[in-house]
């Protein structure tokens, strides 16, 4: 009997391939007999997220046999193609434990250090536990991995710092206002950049969004999508007095927001703080607006630099994280001659493919 893991992830497979192998809880229940047969009555936990599908198994079946049995199963489901074989990683023994710890700590995530994966793994594990698909060894594996994953997150800074422009913008807004639930956002220019940033703000509690765009229809579309309201492009200046956060991303070749616009509404706003996120290139907002002490302006350059720093910072945490995993499983890290452990090499060799 041994621990085995078979999986496919964003690292090797495009979403069009991954989505074929995605499996819902309902489907797992419907096919539980097949999985019990495939594993010879062994224990299993199936993790299926948008970025990976993994089978964690404790069984007497060998890794090769297990893969072949799963291939047969997928062939019956009509989802298997011969080219898929090279996309799967196959792990056994302590590699499974290490891999699961990497997954839980966010080391193996598309966004390094992201936290959503913890809930996803816990949900998958608890579902299989409730359905009695797991056993003592898999329970121990997952419990220990949850603990190590948590240790990595608390003892390293793998999840600190933001890595996308949207999340950096949200962090800055939160540093100015604290709670975003009472802040009003105005979007000038209903493009993708604005939409993504506004969605990030709303995911952190912002509720009130006003969208302004040269094309009123596009403004209405985006406003509906975000649960806000739309105004005509000519009316954005009048709305300036009421908002706390401005996200600007028009295609205008000249400045849209100028110091005169801010000066006009300062007293009306009672000099309340105003956060302006300028995502446009060329810039929409005249940098002179920062002369007003209550105005905080961040352009694409600043946000991108911060996001890059965030990524760099998280990358540096990989070495510490790997050391925690090695310590937990009493593993001496293998090093080829003249090879130094670097974050990049660790990230690339995060799992071993047989």
């Amino acid at each position: 009997m041994q621990l085995l893991c078979l999986g496919i992830s964003y690292q090797n497979a495009e979403v069009s391939v991954r989505e074929k192998f995605a499996i819902s809880n309902k489907r797992i229940i419907e096919h539980q007999q097949e999985f019990k047969t495939i594993t010879d009555g062994g224990d299993f936990v199936i993790l299926s997220t948008c970025n990976r599908v993994e089978y964690y198994i404790y069984s007497q079946v060998s890794l090769t046999d297990l893969f072949n049995r799963l291939i047969s199963y997928w062939q019956e489901q009509g989802i298997w193609h011969e080219t898929n074989k090279e996309l799967f990683y196959q792990l056994e023994g302590s590699q499974v434990s290490q891999h699961l710890c990497s997954v839980l700590s966010g080391m193996d995530s598309m966004v390094l250090g992201e936290t959503e994966i913890v809930k996803q793994v816990k949900d998958a594990y608890h579902f299989c536990l409730e359905q009695k698909f797991t056993g003592k060894e898999l329970n121990q594996l997952f419990q220990k991995s949850f603990s190590i994953g948590k240790k990595i997150r608390t003892q390293t800074q793998i999840q600190t710092g933001q890595v996308s422009v949207g999340s950096v913008a949200v962090d800055l807004a939160a540093k100015i206002f604290g709670e975003l639930s009472e802040q009003k956002i105005m979007i000038i220019g209903a493009g993708d950049n604005s939409r993504v940033t506004a969605q990030s703000l709303m995911s952190r509690g912002a509720k009130s969004v006003i969208v302004s765009n040269r094309s009123y229809d596009k403004a209405v579309d985006l406003a509906e999508h975000l649960g806000g309201s739309a105004i005509r492009f000519d009316d954005w200046e009048e709305t300036l007095a009421q908002v706390d956060i401005i996200i600007s991303s028009t295609g205008s070749p000249h400045f849209v927001v100028e110091p005169a616009h801010i000066e006009k509404v300062r007293k009306q706003r009672k000099y309340k703080e105003l956060c302006i996120i300028d995502l446009a290139i060329p810039r929409d907002v005249d940098p002179q607006v920062t002369e007003f002490s209550e105005v905080y302006l961040y352009d694409m350059d600043t946000l991108s630099q911060l996001a890059d720093k965030g990524k760099e910072h998280r990358q540096k945490q990989l070495i510490k994280a790997q050391a925690i995993i090695h310590e937990a499983f009493d593993i001496k890290p293998k090093q080829a001659p003249n090879q130094q452990s670097s974050p990049d090499s660790l990230a690339a060799s995060n799992f071993n493919t047989l």
Binding site: Q157, T160, L172, A174, K175, I176, F177, G178, E179, K267, R269, K270, Y271, K272, E273, T290, F292, S293, E294, Y296, Y298, T302, L306, K309
Partner: protein
């Protein structure tokens, strides 16, 4: 005197620990425990002095400074926790060290002429409330310092500042400054009203100073309420007024 040195030592250790934790992006209950410890010792110091003088210990500038630092600690423990600006502790303990060390200057340990007065509850309440007001206004000034630092970081986009991630949001600091301002102003008002019931022949300058302080904070509050005040300007005013008042209080 021994107690004063213990307070200075503990507050210094607490300051170092708190700074260390803050610059390493860590939190610990140890710093809060030390603040509470310094507060308890300060309370005992005031009590002890009161027992010796058999009246409220407000007879030297050193005693006034100790009282003010006690009040600053009190308002940190109340406001800091309530408004989740516990980061203010980073500045509170150094302020306590500063006040207690200043109080060791020999010239500040000379008794006021009024020290030989008969015990007067109205006088003692008057001074106590004014000192409490100085504590609240002092904590507002510290919040102002914190805001100015955060404002500078946000304006210059210099996010490599090691304290940045732990600093409370501007919105919370703004709320804390304004509430402390109102609280301090309210206490000042009651204290001054009580002062009008007293004969201030010997110490009239201190009373006029308190009245001047009251007027200056009143202007600040009215302007903010009626027309609004950029927070940067308000923080500078709050800090400047407080430093000016302290200098005048200490130098008379």
């Amino acid at each position: 005197m021994v107690l004063t040195f213990i307070i200075i030592l503990l507050a210094t250790i607490g300051s170092v620990i708190h700074w260390n934790l803050a610059t390493n992006n860590k939190r610990s209950l140890v710093s809060l425990v030390i603040v509470i410890g310094v507060f308890v010792l300060s309370t005992y110091q005031i009590y002890q002095r009161g027992q010796i003088a058999q009246q409220c210990p407000i007879n030297t500038v050193q005693e006034l400074l100790s009282f003010i630092s006690w009040a600053i600690l009190l308002f940190y423990l109340v406001i800091g926790r309530v408004y989740r600006v516990s980061f203010l502790g980073l500045l509170t303990l150094p302020a306590v060290v500063l006040f207690e060390v200043l109080g060791l200057l020999p010239s500040l340990q000379l008794a006021f002429p009024s020290a030989d007065r008969a015990v007067n509850p109205i006088l003692e309440w008057h001074v106590f409330l004014l000192l409490l007001a100085y504590g609240a206004l002092g904590q507002a000034a510290l919040a102002g310092v914190l805001f100015l630092q955060l404002h500078r970081v946000l304006k210059k986009s210099n996010f490599s500042n090691r304290l940045f991630s732990q600093m409370p949001p501007i919105g919370r600091l703004s709320e804390a400054i304004k509430r402390l301002l109102w609280l301090g102003f309210g206490l000042l008002t009651i204290g001054i009203i009580l002062g009008f019931k007293l004969d201030y022949a010997a110490d009239s300058f201190k009373f006029y100073l308190a009245c001047g302080t009251w007027v200056s904070y009143l202007i600040l509050i009215i302007v903010d309420k009626v027309r609004g005040f950029p927070l940067k300007l308000m923080s500078i005013w709050v800090l400047a007024l407080y430093i000016l008042n302290l200098i005048l209080l200490v130098s008379i």
